[in-house]
């Protein structure tokens, strides 16, 4: 695809991947909620008007209609800001998509804190909590362009409903072109022995940078990618909880019931590791640029490093 050093948004990679898939999948359609611009789908919808269903600003109905279309053999990808798709339309996701086993892929764009100044109405800091609680709904949060491409190559072949959360940032590369995505598998991307950092989505890059910084201070931090939030690689997490004395989760999400909670569940049952959960506190998030807000909550490289050192010294 693109040059190795070119930074792209998740939207751009997804739009291109779906555009390429139109040649092999005659049933692929996109369902938009007045969101084709913010989803980066204008080139797609212009090129494929016959594969575009505009539902207007009506996320609940968009999800239900997509379920009806999936029932008839279509392969809908519903694009809407994560906040509205995963929260406003969650009952439609639960009933019409997941419970009915309709092959609908829900793409929550502009997720987490990425709407910055637009405020907490637009932030989705609870979407992982709520979507991972829905039976038979897969939940993914990819971190870079190679993983997104590989994830979508999997989704295009899968007949299972799924929710994918992406942000707006131009993504740094974590992986390489040959990355292969395996659902339900966590991935160790850096080995270590003193502490294990577990992250997902856009904060994974900062976790990786923090691990490199910690190495300079003699702390060998492993880094694990939890892009597959559900199905969860419980086996690997249980093994990590037994191998390490310290686990730290980092996520662009409320600390309640995100990946930290998912990991905690396994640690409490199978491990001895102490666990530190880094994320957004249980309060309305402070407003600012994503970098400012990540810094404020200690989710950037420096903040993660500081939390890890403090955690290990206790």
């Amino acid at each position: 695809m693109n040059k190795l050093d070119e930074k792209l948004t998740a939207n751009a990679v997804i739009a291109k991947t779906l555009d390429e898939a139109t040649t092999s999948d005659p049933d692929l359609i996109v369902v938009t909620c007045d969101s084709r611009g913010s989803a980066g789908l204008v080139p797609f919808t212009n090129a494929h008007p016959d594969r575009t269903i505009e539902m207007g600003i009506a996320e609940q109905n968009a999800v239900t209609v997509a379920a009806g279309m999936a029932h008839e053999g279509k392969h809908p990808y519903v694009f809407s800001p994560a906040s509205f798709l995963a929260m406003r339309a969650i009952e439609q996701v639960k009933v019409d998509v997941a419970f009915n086993h309709n092959n609908v892929k829900l793409i929550g764009i502009s997720g987490g804190n990425s709407y910055t100044w637009l405020g907490n109405t637009h932030h989705s800091l609870n979407d992982v909590a709520i979507t991972r609680a829905i039976p038979d709904l897969e939940v993914y949060q990819p971190c870079d362009k190679y993983q997104i491409k590989a994830l979508f190559n999997y989704l295009l072949k899968s007949d299972k409903p799924a929710y994918v959360r992406i942000g707006k940032r131009k993504l740094d590369n974590v992986y390489h072109e040959d990355f292969h995505f395996t659902p339900s598998k966590a991935k160790v991307i850096l080995p270590g022995k003193d502490v294990c950092l577990i992250s997902t989505g856009e904060t994974l890059y900062f976790a990786l940078q923090a691990a490199k910084e910690l190495a300079k201070d003699g702390i060998q931090a492993a880094v694990v990618d939890l892009a597959s939030i559900k199905p969860l690689d419980t086996k690997m997490i249980a093994a990590l909880a037994q191998k390490f004395n310290y686990l730290v989760t980092i996520e662009e999400h409320d600390v309640i019931n995100g990946i930290g909670a998912a990991v905690a569940c396994e640690v409490a049952q199978y491990g001895h590791a102490k666990l530190k959960i880094l994320g957004f506190p249980d309060e309305p998030a402070i407003q600012g640029t994503q970098d400012e807000v990540f810094h404020y909550y200690g989710l950037d490289t420096a903040g993660i490093k500081k939390s890890v050192k403090s955690f290990l010294s206790k």
């Binding site: 207007g56 009506a58 609940q60 109905n61 239900t64 279509k74 009933v95 019409d96 419970f99």
Partner: protein, 277 residues
Amino acid sequence: MNILELKKKAVALRKRTWQLIYNHQNGHTGSDLSCADILVALYYAVMNQNAENIGQKDVDTYIQSKGHAVEIWYEILADKGYIDRVDLEKRYSTFNSPYIGHPTTEVKGMEFHTGSLGHGLGLGVGVALAAKMKQSRKHIYVLMGDGEQAEGSIWEAAMAAGNYNLDNLTAIIDHNDLQISGTTDSVMRSNPLSTKYRAFNWEVLEVNGNNMGDVVNVLTKPNDTNKPRLIIANTVKGKGISAAENRADWHHKIPTATEYQAGLQELDAQMEALNNE
């Protein structure tokens, strides 16, 4: 089936539904009886769908948005051979049974899980849009309740159906003017429904939803309007059992032994009258 045969079928199925609910002490009695004639018309006179062809490309789709009126639907599916009637009558609302108080796709003939209100019309819009894309000749029928019209998602779906000129979609409102807490006008006034749907670019027809001849006529009337069609079927909740008629508390009331016997006698008398026609 001619209209007289359809009327007899409706009485027979009301009786089986009454028995099913009484025998298992569970069900939405008033809602089942209210829409019985509409379902009989759809399954025995209108829809191109049977136990063998359901799910095929050009075969009609039925979506029951008011999922709670499920017992009459079970009895129709059993009568039409989609499911085994002995199995239904043995296992309805028992442990680990597919025959529960709302439709599930575990039951042949039920293409969607419903029960949470306000979903069926949007599902119908999705099926209708996909059918147009696939150049399928299927027609989509969605049955809704009138209390259900308070759900906002219905109006999102109604707007989309009107926007996309879904003339392959027929929605029917079982308009019995009652819901669990009382009259729809006292709980949340949705009337007048006809002007609301017309404003959403629907063709709207009204009919006596408990008059079999009228119901069949309206459901088989060709739609040349380039619009989705709404049929407001004015019905009586609990229709056919005088103790239950027009009573909100019969939404999911179970008959007592005395009421049950009286109901059976009433239904038998109705059948006898039809036999003498």
